[in-house]
């Protein structure tokens, strides 16, 4: 007897973005300038989302673009910058203009905050925050005595995302997500985030059949029951890279950075690259096949 059909969690990018309401606490996967769910970010901007809090470990174009589009009210992370591309200028202007509140956390404390949710704790202990102004400006960080030694420790709050969005190479319609063998730190951060929340959305380069999942069972680090929705979005982290698929589009990022110099220029960038293209494929067509092809990363053939 053949089994009944499995539930498909495959939805469209606009549908997926609608699952992030105004004011949500949104955790975005990737790390710094690597493998950010940028197509999802652009869709949030298209939908004119407002009042978001972004929680991350290290952020870049994701937060900068959302800040430049006025979607954000708060960011909780360790870093917002563009690495070799310089400072995140939309973010800077929003913070300096008092339109965006930043809650600063140490880099590994950002990971620990998701580890807290993974362990279903409301806090994570720390011994290394004494004297640091991350405590001064954050009244959600408390002190408490170690229950074993009595020593005074800090407790910082769990990340508590309402929704987690990560970008991966492959998933099936049920939401089994494959992380490639040759992964690096950003992919591990995605796995951690995907284990910290009950509402996890995955944008995937490719929707694969179950046979592919079974062949990569060792690498299915986020199984179906962890995932709420899957969206097929090839080139979904562009212009940031997806390890094993494509490199950073430095040319496009240069034009982004140039546009981010002023609100006016950035509004024009958003019109051109986010609002005017009918959808993600129109965005890709605008980039053109030559540019996309040049970015290919072969990953490992072993």
């Amino acid at each position: 007897m053949s089994k009944a059909p499995l539930v498909s969690k495959l939805i469209s990018l606009p549908e997926a973005a609608r699952r992030v309401p105004n004011g949500a606490r949104l955790a975005l996967g990737g790390f710094a300038v690597y493998q950010k769910p940028m197509a999802f970010v652009r869709e949030l901007i298209r939908q004119n989302r407002r009042g978001l809090t972004v929680i991350g470990s290290a952020n870049s174009f994701d937060v900068d673009m959302l800040a430049g589009a006025g979607c954000l009210s708060r960011v909780e992370t360790s870093y917002v910058g563009l690495e070799k591309h310089g400072l995140a200028r939309n973010f800077r202007r929003a913070v300096e203009g008092g339109r965006l509140k930043v809650v600063d956390y140490p880099e590994m404390a950002c990971w620990d905050r998701f580890r807290a949710n993974q362990d279903n704790f409301d806090f994570w202990p720390a011994k290394f925050l004494g004297g640091n102004d991350v405590v001064t400006y954050n009244d959600e960080i408390k002190t408490f005595p170690c229950p074993i030694t009595g020593r005074t420790l800090h407790a910082f709050p769990a990340a508590n995302p309402d929704v987690v969005v990560i970008h991966a190479i492959a998933a099936d319609e049920q939401g089994n997500v494959v992380i490639p063998a040759r992964r690096l730190l950003p992919q591990s951060g995605d796995v951690l985030m995907g284990r910290s929340c009950e509402h996890v959305i995955v944008t995937a380069e490719k929707i694969v059949p179950k046979s592919f999942i079974k062949r990569h069972a060792r690498f299915v680090e986020l199984p179906s029951y962890r995932i709420s929705a899957v969206v097929e979005v090839p080139w979904g982290s562009h212009p940031t890279p997806t390890l094993g698929r494509y490199l950073s589009d430095d040319g496009h990022l240069d034009s982004y950075v140039e546009a981010s110099a002023t609100d006016t220029a950035f509004a024009a960038y958003l019109d051109e690259w986010v609002r005017r293209p009918a959808d993600h494929f129109a965005y890709l067509d605008k980039l053109g096949s030559a540019q996309l092809s040049r970015l290919t990363d072969l990953g490992s053939l072993a």
């Binding site: 499995l6 089994n176 079974k214 069972a217 060792r218 029951y225």
Partner: protein, 272 residues
């Protein structure tokens, strides 16, 4: 005409009917013929059956690690949890680390199966010791994952391969898995957010719980077992059993699927 259901088949069907679609079910890998059958084989058959009936999206966690394994090419159940055989068994995901794919403390596991040497009236279970803890009459294996099964899983099936007075006791000698002391309110006072035993399955009967009162009660008695047999084999008073029905029977189609599709070669539920 179809041969009548065996006890194993009956239990597999009773369990299967209780699983909802989309749930995640966790088995250990018990050893020893009776324990392996009750703790691993029947639960796996029940989950495979449910997947073919009303719960195609159920996830099986074999030995707590191997997601939806493919049993079609093996001749007997594995008897070692983290061996080369399980490494090589086809599946959809392998949990090879902790914290791993299922997020234990967030309640990703919908239900689990455990076994114990003692169960008591409120559903506490014990696999640590018989007699005082510091100088036990019998030292057993330890709490293993029972504390987690009985609190972090959303519900638990306690699978008891033997039903004797020494197993069903007024009060366990050591609580290694918490039932309903003080009922649901009692669990809340203990700081437990969810979980606890839902059924206790034995060769003689199936117990469920008055969760408010925190008391185990006989839900059904297996065909061929008398009420007197059952009370005699139980170390506490079962109360008035006169209204307790016989354990529900599998339907023809459930039996057909179980026998011809779930376990045609007797890999999951070998005849003992």
């Amino acid at each position: 005409m179809t041969a009548p259901a065996t006890l194993n088949e009956t239990l597999a069907v009773v369990l299967a009917r209780s699983f909802a679609d989309g749930e995640v079910g966790f088995t250990g890998l018990l050893t020893g013929a009776a324990a392996a059958l009750f703790g691993t084989g029947i639960p796996l058959a029940a989950m495979e059956l449910a997947k073919r009936l009303h719960a195609p999206n159920l996830t099986i966690l074999l030995a707590g690690c191997y997601h939806n394994p493919d049993f079609s090419e093996i001749d007997r159940l594995p008897d070692s949890e983290h061996s080369a055989m399980l490494r090589d068994l086809p599946c959809e995901a392998q949990m090879v680390d902790y914290p791993g794919q299922f997020v234990l403390k967030r309640g990703d596991v919908s239900f689990g199966f455990s076994s114990a040497v003692q169960v008591d009236r409120v559903g506490n279970i014990n696999s640590v010791c018989v007699g005082p803890h510091d100088r036990p009459k019998v030292r057993l294996v330890g709490p293993i994952l029972q504390p987690e099964h009985m609190t972090l899983f959303r519900r638990e099936y306690v699978m008891m391969p033997h039903h004797d007075r020494r197993n069903f006791v007024q009060k366990v000698d050591y609580v290694s898995g918490v039932g309903y002391p003080g009922g649901l309110e009692g669990r809340k006072k203990l700081g437990l957010d969810w979980g606890g035993p839902c059924l206790v399955v034995t060769p003689k009967c199936i117990f469920d719980f008055d969760r408010e009162a925190g008391l185990m009660k006989v839900r059904s008695i297996h065909r061929g077992v008398t009420r007197q047999d059952l009370q005699d084999a139980t170390g506490f008073d079962l109360g008035d059993l006169s209204a307790v029905p016989e354990t529900e029977h599998p339907s023809e189609s459930e039996l057909e699927i179980l026998r011809h599709h779930v376990d045609p070669r007797g890999v999951l539920m070998p005849a003992l």
